[in-house]
């Protein structure tokens, strides 16, 4: 091997600060990074391939396992794509509940990010506070969905069931309490001199660079580009809600931190509005009997409903031929599903546009020329989830 003045070190795949099985090959000149190359694929399960052999309702369960910190957003993105293919209308109540849950999930995902990002950079205290609030959200979501990490609760045509009576009071209590908790977190970090020194001007990306690399989500907005799918292409009645898109200026780790913190407050606002304005009515489409299975009571009473239930569970349904792309703003960025239907009950092709995968591609650009100690800050600031990168 040729002599090189640079030292190559291997970071990961088992490393506490790479948030999963990410392996980075770093070429170092002293403490400065000359070249960085991510190696991924350790968690590859072939989700896109598996989906081709499953019916549309079955493939929904795969989406939970993409970004496992915000499974409901993934469910939502997939359902929106299939619903677009089927061209069915979703009742307002279901749309509002979807928004409410997706935003609660966003807060939970951002709290997990905040806790681990701060922990990576040595601010351990925050982990305990952030996980306390995350636990509250998990309990609220469990109350409605029955699961913590893989709910598969948002179904094609609406939701799996209506919410229990105890759900809304708990959401409202959380929404009232949460801004105070946010203030507490901010006293720990926002003006903390050590935190600022570790994050300001670290791994900066300009707006042009972000767009070149296809970066979306909080990382893009921290660089000052106002692109949020919720505003750009509103879905699931987001246009009914009043919220703002926070923008950063320098595009460094500190700005990404600030953007995510404000996003949590804005999500809290959306949850509050959704809980207050929640309309009555059905929780799933009523005019799509071949897509939405009948209610349990009906199945017990009516033989035709029982047969219909079996049909949907066993065979699924056949959307018309065509191709659609539907996307949502997940906690990481734009999560999109590109579905191609050939008229059968299984997707001909399900392409997932994973925000983390594309954001990760910008990591080498971010850290080249920076100190090796800042790699951890940069990885944390992109907020990657390997389940989504490797699929």
């Amino acid at each position: 091997m040729a002599e090189s003045r640079y030292m190559t070190i291997n970071m990961g795949p088992q490393h506490p600060a790479t948030h999963g099985v990410l392996r980075l090959l770093l070429e170092l000149d002293g403490e400065i990074i000359v070249k960085a190359e991510p190696h991924i694929g350790y968690l590859h399960r072939g989700i896109e391939k598996l989906a081709e052999s499953m019916t549309y309702p079955q493939a929904l369960t795969l989406t939970d396992r993409l970004d496992y910190t915000s499974a409901l957003s993934n469910n939502l993105a997939y359902c929106l794509a299939v619903e677009k293919l089927l061209d069915i209308n979703i009742p307002k109540r279901a749309q509002y509940l979807r928004v409410l849950m997706a935003e609660l999930q966003r807060i939970a995902a951002h709290l997990l990010w905040l806790a681990t990002h701060a922990l990576d950079l040595g601010a351990m205290t925050l982990l305990f506070y952030a996980f306390r609030e995350r636990e509250t959200i998990m309990e609220i979501l469990e109350l409605a969905t029955g699961a913590r990490l893989t709910p598969s609760f948002i179904r094609i045509g609406g939701l799996a069931s209506d919410i229990p009576d105890t759900f809304l009071p708990r959401v409202k209590a959380f929404v009232e309490d949460f801004p105070k908790r946010m203030d507490d977190y901010e006293t720990l970090l926002t003006e903390n001199i050590i935190w600022k020194k570790r994050t300001t001007n670290i791994a900066p990306m300009s707006a042009e660079e972000c767009i070149q690399y296809g970066v979306t989500g909080p990382v893009l907005r921290a660089s000052g580009v106002s692109y949020d799918v919720r505003k750009a292409y509103p879905y699931s009645s987001y246009e009914d809600f009043d919220f703002e898109i926070p923008l950063g200026r320098n595009g460094d780790v500190y700005d990404r931190y600030l953007v995510r913190l404000i996003e949590m407050r804005q999500s809290n606002r959306i949850v509050k509005q959704a809980a207050e304005k929640l309309p009555g009515g059905p929780f799933a489409a009523v005019d799509a009997p071949l897509v939405v299975p009948p209610a349990k009571e009906e199945v017990g009473r009516d033989i035709a409903a029982l047969i219909r239930h079996f049909k949907i569970m066993e065979e699924g349904f056949r959307p018309p031929c065509g191709e659609v792309y539907a996307s949502v703003e997940s906690s990481k960025g734009e999560l999109g599903f590109y579905l191609i239907s050939d008229g059968t009950n299984k997707p001909f092709r399900m392409r997932i546009r994973p925000p983390s995968f594309i954001n990760l591609a910008a990591l080498p650009k971010m850290i080249e020329g920076q100190m090796v100690a800042d790699v951890v800050a940069a990885i944390g600031s992109i907020d990657i989830v390997l389940g989504e990168i490797d699929r």
């Binding site: 991924i40 694929g41 590859h44 072939g46 896109e48 391939k49 598996l50 081709e52 052999s53 677009k84 293919l85 061209d87 767009i211 070149q212 690399y213 296809g214 970066v215 979306t216 580009v225 692109y227 750009a232 292409y233 065509g322 191709e323 659609v324 792309y325 996307s327 734009e334 999109g336 590109y338 191609i340 001909f348 092709r349 392409r351 546009r353 995968f357 594309i358 990760l360 591609a361 490797d390 699929r391």
Partner: protein, 165 residues
């Protein structure tokens, strides 16, 4: 409005390259000739009236029994005009396609993934190697003729055999 404009502008500037323009559920897809792909893409990005500066997605599709066999779909977004457009092109088995990774750096990883999953070669790509699978993996899993269950585990893996020799 800008959507139809993209189609019209393309037809105006590249009359022989545009094969097809279809609309489904409010999404526009334009199929272009693979040989003119780079010209079209540069035009899409540079033209002031279009300004598709963000490459959102790049997906490969295997149509197995169709000819040409593969389709590549590029999803573009314009941050200036806030609209999306899909550009599609076809690739025959064994043929290669020009890279767009110098037009949008985002295409670097996405093209690597398409190469990994479908075995489509992108000309002039700076670092075309497998990305999600290991370098010694045999086959391209998202091709329709690749079995869902993967390799036959009753047989010794091809990789192991090579090591023994």
């Amino acid at each position: 409005m800008a959507k139809c404009m993209a189609g019209d502008l393309l037809k105006e500037n590249f009359p022989e390259a545009v094969r097809d323009c279809e609309e489904f559920r409010g999404e526009t897809s334009i199929t272009v000739d693979a040989g003119r792909l780079r010209e079209v893409m540069t035009f899409m990005k540079e033209e002031e009236k279009l300004c598709y500066d963000l490459l959102l997605d790049l997906a490969g599709v295997d149509f197995n029994d169709r000819s040409p066999r593969f389709m590549i779909a590029y999803l573009l977004h314009s941050t200036k005009f806030n609209n999306k457009l899909r550009i599609k092109t076809t690739v025959a088995e064994g043929a290669s396609l020009d890279t767009v990774s110098d037009i949008w750096l985002a295409a670097d990883y996405m093209e690597r993934e398409v190469y990994d999953m479908f075995g489509i070669i992108f000309n002039n790509h700076p670092n075309l190697k497998r990305i999600l699978l290991t370098d010694d993996f045999v086959g391209h899993p998202l091709r329709k003729d690749f079995p869902v269950k993967g390799a036959d585990f009753d047989q010794p893996l091809q990789v192991c055999l090579e090591e023994e020799q």
